[in-house]
């Protein structure tokens, strides 16, 4: 048989046709799909049984109950457990692998073993006994009690940063006949005048209050998320908050019951003079809004009792001026502090002695020889300038921190701290509900080598025999049967407020004159004025970038918001990179057009934005002279 070219071609053609109907090409397609999912750079999904555990999210004072979904000892999902969670809560387990996570103990640029760092710090403490302090950047936790106990043993000081959330409550506390810790009772108020306080963004209680239909008036230069959801947005000029609040007081002065209330308070004359000198028309000129809107806000607060005035400021942008906080406190005093309730004390073992809690401002300049900074979670924002001036020459600074971005830049010793779910860590006291709580989340994941919580570190320095876990257990025991166990080493205890706030003695701080108020009533002269704002939880996980980088749902770190007209005037386009220039340096920002005052640029930042801010004599900080310029 002769085989010619035609036969060869027929065979090849037939083979090709046959192959096409055979399973081989489909198998190849299928295999390619499997290969493409298994390239070496593709992440491997963990395999194993899924188990569920209970915990509490302790990254903010809400301390929400959560269900953890775990495989092989690693948490891969967080879900609410009979409540709700904020966006950060769903990605909170990512904190353990955050790109900024501090993973090794360092002295400046050199890695050192943890034990070496602790012995060096012990030696520094021994040398400078009496000049030791711990700066607790998340005060109000059970861990804060441990710090105070350790500082009492060491003869050191326990310091807290300027209070932002709860700042108005703090100002009201100072005016009471008998000082008690207060918290806003947002669950029962019917109207709130909030001045630059992000009530609906990062606060837990108001969302349920909104459902009840409470009236919210938000005074703020830019249309923040809270302003956008409020019943009324008063776009006031930055710095005119005191004028606005005095004008509300001016409207109230006409009411006989208010005049009567004022009669019995100390400091009334100075405040009355200031309020009388600030009619709504004048405040309207200073704040850049209509006088009728100020009068309506004043009437709303009296028409929807109980009502509340808050001027806490922004957690990232910083507290409002001392005068604005005092002006808000004065209005609350006139309202009988009905929006606040006293917070019950925390349970304490009988044999514990605690160092006094002091604010950072109260510490003497140049008085601290050894400073331990406790930065337990993301979002703490305090300008370094506030801390620096309190340090003695040659002071030793150690940051026990989860990250290597903020205070780690200034500290000589960087000590890695465990994060949520790696060690029993606890949440701070709520500032939006009159409740005392201890919420210790259990440790369910292995903690990295050489990590130590700040409470454990201060215990080691003070020579306290108990471990932090033992100390928490002692607190749980002191709390008694009301403390509910969570997992192996966590627990939750809370106590609701009872009764009303004590009567007020004063309406204004001692030695304040009308001039003190009025001096602070003028708005910022800068045009456009640059203001800072932010969301504390933004740094919890890179996943949260979905909300501002991969969508336009909210503003995120390193974004500047301008009115479209101002954007045009500045010669910039939406989405371009610009620079935030402040006397302290330059930072890149991406500009966005949004609804805001046309003479204001609002810069959204993470905690490092505090580095760009100027600290004022009253301890508040602002972007002040900063500018946003085309890059």
């Amino acid at each position: 048989m002769k085989i010619d070219r035609r036969d060869v071609l027929s065979l090849a053609g037939g083979a090709a046709a046959g192959l096409a109907v055979s399973p081989l090409p489909w198998r190849l397609l299928g295999d390619t799909a499997i290969w493409s999912q298994n390239w070496h750079w593709m992440p491997r999904v963990p395999r194993g049984a899924i188990e569920e555990r209970e915990a509490r999210c302790t990254l903010c004072p809400s301390a929400c109950p959560v269900k953890l979904r775990m495989t092989n000892g690693i948490v891969h999902g967080v879900a609410p457990n009979g409540g709700a969670l904020c966006p950060a809560g769903f990605a909170a387990h990512h904190l353990a692998w955050h790109p900024l996570r501090l993973r090794e103990c360092r002295r400046k640029d050199q890695a050192v073993p943890l034990e070496e760092a602790l012995s060096s710090l012990r030696a520094a403490v021994a040398q400078r006994r009496g000049a030791v302090a711990v700066l607790d950047l998340a005060p109000g936790r059970a861990s804060s009690l441990l710090h105070r106990r350790h500082m009492a043993a060491l003869g050191g000081a326990y310091l807290m940063p300027p209070r932002i959330e709860g700042g108005t409550a703090h100002a009201v506390e100072a005016l009471l006949e008998k000082r008690r810790a207060l918290a806003a009772d947002l669950a029962s108020v019917k109207a709130v005048l909030s001045v630059s306080t992000p009530l609906l963004d990062g606060w837990a209680a108001p969302s349920s209050a909104v459902e009840r239909g409470f009236r919210l008036i938000q005074a703020e230069p830019h249309r923040s998320r809270t302003a956008g959801l409020a019943d009324e947005w008063l776009p006031v000029k930055p710095g005119s908050e005191t004028a606005l609040l005095l004008a509300v007081g001016h409207c109230w002065l006409k009411r006989p019951e208010m005049a009567q209330q004022l009669e019995r308070l100390k400091g009334a004359e100075a405040w009355r003079q200031a309020a009388e000198a600030m009619p709504p028309q004048r405040a309207a000129e200073l704040a850049g809004i209509e006088a009728a809107r100020i009068e309506a806000a004043a009437a709303d607060l009296l028409g929807h009792r109980p009502s509340l005035v808050l001027a806490d400021g922004d957690p990232v942008g910083g507290p409002l001026s001392r005068e604005a906080r005092a002006a808000a406190a004065a209005l609350n005093i006139l309202l009988g502090a009905e929006g606040f309730r006293p917070v019950p004390p925390l349970p304490l073992p009988k044999d514990w002695t605690l160092a006094e809690a002091q604010s950072l401002e109260e510490a003497g300049d140049g008085s601290i020889g050894v400073l331990i900074i406790d930065e337990p979670w993301p979002g703490v924002s305090v300008p370094w300038q506030l801390v620096e001036k309190k340090l003695a020459r040659g002071a030793v600074v150690a940051a026990v921190t989860w990250n290597r971005a903020q205070f780690a830049r200034h500290a000589e010793w960087l000590i890695p701290a465990p994060v949520w779910l790696e060690a029993p860590l606890d949440a701070a006291q709520p500032h939006d509900a009159p409740r005392a709580q201890i919420a210790v989340a259990p440790a369910v994941m292995a903690r990295p080598k050489d990590t130590i919580s700040a409470a454990e570190a201060t215990a080691r320095l003070a020579g306290v025999e108990m471990t932090a876990a033992d100390e928490f257990a002692a607190l749980a025991q002191a709390a008694g049967s009301e403390a509910a166990q969570i997992g192996d080493n966590g627990f939750y205890w809370s106590s609701e407020a009872k009764g009303a706030a004590p009567a007020a003695a004063r309406i204004a701080p001692e030695q304040w004159t009308a001039e003190t108020w009025l001096r602070a009533a003028a708005p910022s002269a800068a045009s456009p004025a640059v203001v800072a704002f932010g969301w504390r939880q933004a740094a919890v996980s890179p996943m949260l970038g979905k909300l501002w980088q991969e969508s336009e749902l909210r503003e995120g770190p390193q974004q500047a918001v301008l009115h479209p007209d101002l954007l045009r005037r500045q010669g910039m386009e939406e989405g371009v990179l610009a620079r935030l220039m402040s006397p302290r340096g330059a930072w890149p920002v991406r500009v966005r057009a949004a609804e805001t005052r046309p003479d204001v640029i609002a810069v959204c930042g993470g905690p490092s934005l505090a580095l760009a801010c100027e600290v004022r004599p009253d301890g508040a900080w602002t972007l002040g002279e900063a500018k946003v310029v085309k890059s």
């Binding site: 891969h76 609410p80 790109p99």
Partner: protein, 245 residues
């Protein structure tokens, strides 16, 4: 998770979103990404190129802000994306009413993105990258995302599978009840998930305040919206006809 009535052999899963309750917190977006192993944004990602199965848009109503979560509408039999896919990578499952996306078959032509009137599909431009170690926190029930394919919401298929397995273990058959991540996450309880074969849920979806996006196209979307604010309904007109038939 509960078995539906034995008379129903199939389910028609659907979502009812109350826009009056949504406060635009974004918890649903984050919970969706974490559940479905969607990676964090790449440095150069933008709202146009980002990988979001669910996106919450802010509506300009002139008054108080309103928000609208938009995801795959799980259209009915006339699914536009399915008819254009040359790879059969889009499949409508008559047993659940869910439009499935099969990334292994997808060759990334993006015809489906062009065909989708809701712009609910996104192209995956990058290999998934996670900060070192974070890949340990991936959801074991869902595969990692892969570059060069189109992605979309599948009503949390991994959770549906898990519910199905659980039902099988319990000796039950037929459609199961489960909750997708976004509905579980919503702190305002604005997102409700159910089965249109469930009379009570179907009645809520048919209620006079409810509407669907681009209903006039006849795609049979199974995501329903509800609002009592006329200006919010007006603002959704950008997505087409709002009247519920």
């Amino acid at each position: 998770m509960r078995k539906l009535g034995a008379e129903n052999k199939t389910a028609r899963y659907a979502m009812l979103i109350d826009l009056d309750r949504c406060n635009g917190c974004g918890a649903c977006m984050v919970a969706c990404a974490v559940e479905n192993n969607v990676p964090p944004p790449q440095p150069s990602a933008t709202p146009r190129t980002g990988l979001n199965w669910l996106r919450v848009f802010r509506l300009n109503t002139g008054g108080r802000d309103a928000f609208i979560p938009v995801m795959c509408m799980q259209c009915g039999d006339e699914t536009p994306c399915q008819s254009v896919c040359p790879q059969k990578a889009v499949e409508f499952d008559p047993a659940t009413g869910i439009v499935g996306q099969i990334p292994e078959r997808c060759l990334g032509c993006r015809y489906c993105m062009a065909a989708c009137p809701y712009q609910a599909r996104v192209f995956n431009w990058w290999d998934p990258q996670w900060p070192a170690g974070m890949e340990q926190a991936l959801n074991p029930r869902v595969s990692a995302r892969q570059r060069g394919t189109v992605e979309k919401c599948n009503f949390c298929h991994g959770r549906w599978q898990a519910a199905l397995e659980k039902a099988a273990q319990d000796g039950e058959s037929g459609p199961v009840r489960y909750t997708p991540a976004c509905a579980e996450a919503c702190p305002a309880q604005a997102i409700r998930f159910g089965d249109l074969n469930d009379e009570e849920f179907a009645a809520e979806c048919r209620d006079s305040g409810a509407f669907r996006l681009l209903e006039s196209l006849g795609t049979g979307p199974k995501v329903f919206y509800r609002t009592s604010r006329a200006e919010v309904r007006e603002a959704t007109r950008g997505f087409g006809e709002v009247k519920r038939g």
